[in-house]
């Protein structure tokens, strides 16, 4: 029972991550009709926003001490972080909270990256075949990756969660259950965060006029254009939002998964599977599929299951995708006519 509860939590947590990444992708897919292979790179860029912010905060003044030598004979470097020196306790606080604080920085940065990407490149590809979109966004993803690799190296760079949420929460005690049921605070935070972001995107689309136009554009962009609405401008904003959502997913994921330049590619295939299983052009579908796949993946990894079906945890996501796509022609909640030709 404990095991099942914990796996369910794992599933929610994974599902939150999958849903967040898939959400931006399906927005771009459904609204703009663009197959964006650079979406994983946006996720990675978000994570590196956090890394960069942390690096800036921990920039150190380096003083060479000729008295002391390193093992290879050069003078020892004495490092003192600027921020701590200037800001004192507040500096320490800032470093401690660098991951959540970098959200504030990631939002404008990712929005800018998204808008520049859309205006500078993607908009010329709306009318082009999907094959061309794949090639250009894949090329872009490689370029972004290599730039990050050039500056940050290939090794993962650890980011720590604020100390206050570093440990584990005793969930068993909250629920009044026997046994030792603990779960990392940060993962709970991540789950909560993903719910908030998903909710915010839905609210934006559902309750604002802006969102309404975008939704109308998703259905039939031509007619919306005929009504005299500048749908192009809306599209740019949609792309920006997608980039921000992907970036935020990346920022908050860094304490769980130390980011490296390749993490976007690792998530790319998975996010496509989630989007398609959810159904093209359906935001709730993507979220539902994200949580479904996350939870199933967690349960499939249990020893009891693996003993019966060895290797099932390796293929469960794809197996579920196949079953769903064969039983439901357009995924869980897909709409007719989107990306079917």
């Amino acid at each position: 029972m404990d095991a099942l509860l914990l796996q369910f939590l794992n599933g929610l947590d994974k599902g939150g991550a999958y849903a967040l990444i898939a959400l931006g992708l399906t927005l771009v897919f459904g609204t703009l009709g663009v197959v964006n292979f650079a979406h994983g790179a946006l996720f990675m860029l978000g994570a590196f926003c956090a890394v960069t912010f942390n690096k800036l905060l921990t920039l150190e003044q380096i003083v060479l001490d000729p008295e002391q030598k390193t093992a290879w004979g050069t003078p020892l470097e004495i490092r003192t972080p600027y921020v701590e020196a200037w800001l004192g306790d507040f500096g320490v606080f800032l470093v401690n909270y660098s991951v959540p604080v970098s959200i504030i920085i990631a939002i404008p940065v990712m929005l800018l990256i998204g808008v520049v990407m859309e205006r500078g490149l993607i908009k010329y590809f709306y009318k082009r075949p999907h094959a061309d979109q794949i090639l250009v966004t894949f090329g872009l993803a490689i370029v972004i990756q290599e730039i990050i690799k050039h500056y940050f190296g290939a090794n993962p760079i650890p980011q720590s969660a604020p100390e206050i949420v570093a440990g584990s929460a005793n969930i068993g005690a909250w629920l009044g259950l026997e046994g030792n049921i603990v779960y990392p605070w940060w993962r709970l935070v991540y789950f909560g965060f993903s719910v908030v972001v998903i909710g915010a995107v839905f609210a934006f689309l559902q309750f604002t006029t802006y969102g309404m136009v975008v939704r109308a554009g998703m259905r039939d962009s031509e007619t919306v254009g005929l009504l005299g609405i500048n749908i192009q401008k809306r599209f740019t904003v949609v792309f920006g939002i997608a980039a921000v959502v992907a970036g935020l997913a990346g920022v908050m994921y860094t304490p769980i998964l130390p980011p490296d330049y390749h993490m976007g590619m690792d998530f790319l295939v998975l996010s496509f599977v989630v989007v398609v299983v959810g159904g093209m052009g359906s935001l709730p579908g993507a979220v539902l599929a994200g949580f479904l796949l996350g939870i199933l993946q967690s349960f499939a990894s249990m020893n009891e299951v693996k003993n019966i079906l060895p290797g099932i945890d390796q293929i469960i996501i794809y197996l579920v995708a196949v079953v769903i796509l064969l039983t439901m022609p357009r995924g869980l909640m897909g709409r007719e006519g989107v990306m079917e030709d």
Binding site: P129, D132, L135, F138, I142, V273, G311, L325
Partner: protein, 381 residues
């Protein structure tokens, strides 16, 4: 000239000459060594086969590498169990990939568009993940399936006792390593070109094109499209299996990463880069990618310094520093930039560049050149 190229014997002859003379004209490019030549021929076949599905029907398979892997495994098992002769190995490779393609195609072709792509991707990823881990007894997992001294090789053993070392793959006595391996692959490539050309020009190929431009309308005119797409899928899977078995022929090892989605993605990129739906475009795309992978990754600082040593010192330093970003460990960056440049400026890939070049040079001749490829080079969706 271009008109003549439309004639089958001429086209075949010119193509054969270009392929077989590769060791000559690739020498100045630094690409004349057997392994890369073999890879050019083999990946040319792979991309050409992929194009039969994607270029003609518009169905974008994102799991074609699975068939490449199956072909390799089948071929290596044939070397291990039966004989080092390559003919049975190729036969098994094509056969097994054909069976896989039939089954996966049968299921996946029930859907179209992106749903089809994800189905094929899912099947290929399942193959890869299982081959890497739980299927290790069959695939030897991470290490890759290799020949060992303990292999039974029953047919070979009937004629000669086992030698001290590992035997080599051969085509009735001709060793399949080095240049002879390349010529073997080259001949297979030429045959594949011939087959692929015939398919493109046949009523079957035209039907597939019809399916691509409007599947519903094809349905209304009384065509049952499924058998056509299914056939195209199996043929294209068998081409991939053939390429996979040739990989094993020239180098008897089969690794699981051959089936990973990145490998499937690579053939998609090759095809788009070269020109979807054109006869030789995908092959050119394959050559370009393999060339970058093998030649550009090999540059290091020392070679760069040598290259730029004719410049004055500070200039040479700057040149080394800048070019160093794009070669050696930065070869991926060059590839990424190249993808973007080609697709931005040459929609339609390398073949589009060729067509523009022909038009620019020859005026009237270019228009004709267009006729062969333009008929099939409609945007694929």
């Amino acid at each position: 000239m271009t008109k003549l190229l439309d004639r089958e014997p001429v086209a075949l002859l010119v193509f054969s000459a270009v392929i077989l003379l590769m060791p000559l004209w690739l020498t100045p490019l630094g690409a004349n060594y057997p392994d890369l030549l073999q890879k050019f021929a083999i990946y040319g076949i792979f991309a050409m086969g992929f194009n039969i599905l994607f270029g003609l029907t518009g169905y974008l398979s994102f799991g074609h590498a699975a068939f490449l892997g199956v072909g390799s495994y089948a071929a290596v098992w044939s070397f291990k169990l039966f004989t080092m002769n390559v003919i049975p190995a190729i036969a098994f490779g094509v056969l097994f990939s054909g069976i896989f393609a039939f089954l996966i195609g049968y299921v996946s072709l029930r859907r179209s568009g992106i749903y089809f792509s994800i189905l094929t991707l899912a099947f290929a990823q399942m193959c890869y993940n299982l081959a890497y881990s739980v299927l290790t007894p069959i695939t030897n997992g991470e290490t890759g399936l290799q020949l060992t001294l303990q292999d039974p090789r029953i047919i070979d053993r009937m004629f000669a006792p086992a030698g001290a070392g590992l035997p080599s793959t051969n085509f009735f006595g001709i060793l399949m390593s080095g240049y002879s391996g390349f010529y073997f692959c080259a001949v297979v490539l030429i045959i594949c070109f011939f087959i692929s050309r015939r398919i493109f020009k046949s009523p079957f190929g035209l039907t597939l094109l019809g399916i691509k431009s409007n599947q519903n309308r094809m349905g209304y005119t009384g065509y049952n499209t499924r058998p056509y797409t299914q056939t195209a899928f199996v043929i294209s899977g068998m081409f991939a299996g053939l390429a996979g078995s040739l990989l094993a022929v020239t180098d008897p090892l089969a690794g699981a990463e051959r089936m990973q989605w990145t490998a499937s993605g690579e053939v998609v990129l090759m095809t788009i880069l070269g020109g979807v739906g054109t006869l030789i475009g995908p092959m050119l795309g394959a050559w370009l990618i393999k060339y970058f992978e093998n030649i550009f990754s090999a540059f290091n600082e020392a070679t760069l310094e040598q290259t730029f040593s004719f410049l004055p010192e500070p200039l040479a330093h700057a040149a080394v520093a800048i070019s160093g970003l794009f070669v050696g460990e930065g070869w991926h960056l060059t590839l990424g930039v190249l993808f973007m440049l080609i697709v931005i400026f040459l929609p339609g890939g390398i073949m589009e560049g060729w067509r523009r070049l022909a038009r620019w040079i020859g005026g009237g001749g270019g228009g004709k050149a267009k006729s062969e490829s333009a008929a099939v080079a409609q945007p694929a969706e």
